[in-house]
């Protein structure tokens, strides 16, 4: 929120925005880029914690499966577990990225090269 341009907030005030309208039209869109950075960063940490927790303490799930496979030397299952993790991670990142490029079209960094 602190990254939102105070000049824009001031402009919103002069043009009669207050409370919810100001938030919806100025503050929230202005904070979106930072929100997405935070989201993608925390997605990474979330997966990491999940995997560690799963392989150490869980009695079911992919981590448990991978652990058991390791104990019984079933390399193919271990590889499968790793692949599933990779795919899930990639998928989550892709969803975040797509949301980002949908909502941040206005941002110069996300704009496709001009047609004209």
């Amino acid at each position: 929120m602190r990254n939102v341009d105070p000049q824009l907030i001031e402009m919103g005030r002069v043009y009669g925005m207050s409370g919810w309208t100001l938030f919806r039209k100025v503050i929230f869109p202005g904070a979106l880029p930072s929100i997405f950075v935070g989201l993608r960063f925390s997605l990474g940490i979330m997966w990491l914690t999940l995997i560690v927790a799963e392989s150490m303490a869980a009695s079911s799930g992919i981590g448990h499966m991978a652990n058991q496979a390791r104990e019984f030397m079933m390399t193919d299952v271990v590889v499968l577990a790793l692949l599933i993790y990779a795919l899930l991670g990639k998928l989550a990142d892709w969803i975040a990225k797509t949301l980002e490029s949908l909502t941040l079209q206005w941002h110069p960094a996300f704009q496709k090269p001009s047609k004209a």
Binding site: Q7, L8, E10, M11, G12, R13, V14, Y15, G16, M17, T21, K25, V26, P29, G30, L32, L104, Q105, W106, H107, P108, Q111, S114
Partner: protein
């Protein structure tokens, strides 16, 4: 003069929105065309212990184009911010005066030095900000189109602000200010950040919309030549006081670089640096 100008504006700005009989008997325009008068009595403003404005008494008739010049830090922007309600005066009164000579609430708008467009909204949506909330969708779109055609940017309605040039962005900001048909328009060095050639075009544009809409305009600038070229009256602020109040009644449109204007500009500059 307004009889000559009106028909132009109506076809220009409102297209099919305005019925022919509207131009015969303007309904809402009677108070709008004249703008509002402004009366400042003993206005003071200080930030902490630092006085910025020290007792400003000023009467601006409705529809006047008043330019305020002065060195930086003389309080000209502060004065403007008081008028549009961005700051509160620490002393004195600010009144907008209607047709009947009584104090009224004015529809005032401001154009800043920077365009201050919402980068996440397309040009059309940015102009619609000037309309506030509510209103029928079709009506809003029509008014946005009209305002954009005033600044000759109709074709950019679906463009992102990041794609526009500096001058175009400032024109969008002007359209946003004009779309609600203000009685009073404050311009805070609106052309300060533009290159010299764009400035000349924009000065013509500002003068044209002012002549068409007849709002009261307060134009803060540090360019004395610009003030003299555009305004009916120029005020020089110095250390929070009005140092000089000059009427400029040269015929419009004024020629840039005309000798009498240049002489006036020279006198004003002398007064500023006296």
């Amino acid at each position: 003069m307004s009889e000559i100008i009106n028909p132009v504006r109506k076809t220009n700005a409102w297209g099919k929105e305005i019925e022919p009989e509207f131009s015969v008997r303007p309904v809402r325009e009677s108070n709008r065309l004249g703008g509002v008068g402004i009366r400042l009595s003993g206005v003071e403003k200080s930030f902490g212990n630092v006085p910025v404005l020290r007792g400003i008494d000023l009467e601006v008739p409705a529809g006047q184009f008043l330019a305020i010049v002065g060195k930086s830090g003389c309080g000209k922007s502060t004065l403007l911010r008081l008028l549009v309600g961005l700051d509160e005066a620490t002393g004195g009164r600010v009144d907008f005066i209607g047709d009947n000579g009584r104090s009224v609430a004015a529809n005032s708008r401001i154009v800043f030095q920077e365009p201050r467009l919402l980068p996440w909204a397309k040009v059309g949506a940015n102009v619609a900000v000037g309309l506030g909330e509510g209103g029928a969708k079709g009506d809003r779109a029509g008014r946005v189109r009209a305002a954009l055609s005033e600044v000759q940017l109709t074709e950019k309605v679906n463009e992102w602000p990041a794609r526009l040039s500096g001058g175009q962005r400032q024109r969008v900001a002007l359209a946003r200010a004009l779309v609600s048909r203000p009685d009073f328009l404050a311009l805070d060095e609106p052309l300060g950040a533009l290159d010299a050639l764009t400035r000349i075009t924009m000065q013509g544009l500002v003068e044209r919309v002012w002549r068409e809409q007849k709002f009261t305009a307060l134009f803060v600038t540090h360019d004395v030549g610009e003030a003299v070229a555009l305004a009916d009256r120029v005020i020089v602020l110095d250390e929070g006081r009005i140092a000089l109040d000059v009427a400029v009644d040269h015929e419009r449109p004024r020629k840039r670089g005309a000798a009498d204007l240049a002489a006036l500009e020279g006198d004003l500059l002398k007064a500023i640096f006296a």
